[in-house]
């Protein structure tokens, strides 16, 4: 499978000369299978560029939303295939006890927040709710599971017989766990990320920043490295960078994290445009 990062930023898009290497677009990752199935993980602002890169012969695409916070949703109406008649667009996202997925998406895709409504999109839309499911999408198996982050949020494990990745862009497994990482059994996200080839994981904060932002739903780089070690990930991609962190700060944050934890696996900084071929 081919994994490409189209947006690696968390919380707020942050374009500018200080963020050109890591990128300023918010969360979006594409996963292409050997048989042509296209999965899009989250619809942050990075999805706009992905949409422009897709060939005109596209028949269907699956957008897997981890949750509905704006930095994972803002690019959705700018995704080109949504405006092409006849293209099947499947949108998967976490279930809620109050409204269905389509109704919750319509809160953004309607005036006064946005001029275009869901019903105005020309593609053939299908909505699917997930909370703790494993589903088959083309050549992929996809497992969704709730993880620790405010409001219903899932992480995804995507695998074939040859490779597996886990995508947990917004995740605070250390919340409330004073002795993190405590144990596999009691760690959020463990089942999703166990022994994956590539783990794409939230690493928004420095250790000092985390102290004042507990409960915001994100991880420090140290927590991310420890989590990756606990689950036995073969490669870690730190992701969901804080908008206040420029390229130099991110270089330093990741380097210092690696020096502190000394991981046994490679760490590939999550940069916009990065492509990883697995399996």
């Amino acid at each position: 499978m081919k994994v490409t990062l189209w947006g690696t930023r968390g919380s707020l898009a942050s374009p500018g000369p200080d963020t050109v290497r890591y990128g300023g677009n918010t969360s979006c990752v594409s996963v292409e299978g050997p048989e042509g199935t296209l999965l899009v993980l989250d619809a942050g602002t990075g999805i706009r560029v992905l949409g422009k890169s897709i060939s005109s012969g596209l028949k269907s695409v699956h957008i897997l939303l981890t949750h509905l916070h704006m930095d994972h949703l803002q690019g959705l109406p700018f995704f080109e295939p949504l405006r092409i008649p006849g293209v099947e667009v499947h949108i998967w996202g976490p279930a809620s006890t109050t409204q269905n997925l389509e109704a919750r998406l319509m809160r953004y895709l309607s005036p006064p927040l946005f001029p275009v409504r869901v019903r105005d999109l020309l593609s053939e839309l299908h909505f699917h709710e997930v909370s703790a499911n494993t589903m088959r999408i083309g050549e992929f198996c996809v497992t969704a599971q709730l993880i620790i982050h405010p409001n219903p949020t899932v992480g995804y494990r995507i695998w074939t017989s040859h490779a597996a990745i886990a995508y947990l862009p917004d995740h605070e497994p250390a919340l409330g766990a004073d002795d993190f990482p405590h144990s596999k059994e009691w760690t959020s996200g463990y089942a999703l990320a166990q022994e994956v080839d590539v783990l794409i994981h939230d690493s928004q904060y420095t250790t000092d920043e985390y102290q004042t932002r507990r409960g915001f739903g994100h991880s420090s780089i140290i927590h991310t490295l420890l989590f990756a070690g606990l689950v036995g990930a073969k490669e870690l991609v730190p992701f969901h960078h804080d908008p206040a962190h420029n390229d130099d700060v991110l270089d330093q944050l990741i380097t210092q994290g690696i020096e502190a934890v000394q991981p046994s696996f490679p760490v590939t900084p999550g940069k916009e445009g990065l492509t990883i071929n697995i399996g």
């Binding site: 279930a95 909370s131 766990a177 596999k184 760690t187």
Partner: protein, 130 residues
């Protein structure tokens, strides 16, 4: 051991930070976790015992009503919350591992996760001052 459901993990984290004795059981009543204040009541440390099957941990207490009559398991709040999936509250007496008789109030409620997943139950104990 498979990973616990996220709601159960969060419940444990909350219990770890509260001063009230709290027990968390899975859908079949097996004790998944009890916090430090509950260790005082039980006479065990969680780090030593780990999870306990329902049959094992339920016999640790000797619950009796105010007249000293043994309570049937089906009358216990945690059993009601687990088997009938609705909340229950009761005032009764227990004898812990230290042999002391304690009057307690117990509130138990089922844990229902997203998509109506039944995940077990939580019981909170309050010791009634003598």
């Amino acid at each position: 051991m498979p990973q616990q459901e996220i709601e159960v993990i969060l419940a444990r984290h909350l219990a770890e930070h509260l001063a009230m004795p709290i027990f968390i059981v899975n859908p079949t009543g097996d004790l998944l976790y009890y916090n430090e204040p509950a260790e005082v009541v039980l006479g065990f440390h969680f780090d030593e015992t780990g999870p306990m099957p329902a049959k094992e941990w339920a016999t640790v207490f000797q619950p009796v009503d105010p007249s000293g009559q043994p309570l049937l398991p089906d009358d216990l709040p945690l059993v009601i919350a687990t088997t009938h999936r609705y909340p229950a509250h009761k005032n009764f007496w227990i004898k812990g591992m230290d042999g002391a008789l304690r009057q307690i109030e117990v509130t138990a409620f089922p844990l229902i996760g997203q998509a109506d997943r039944f995940l077990g139950a939580i019981a909170i104990f309050w010791e009634v001052p003598a």
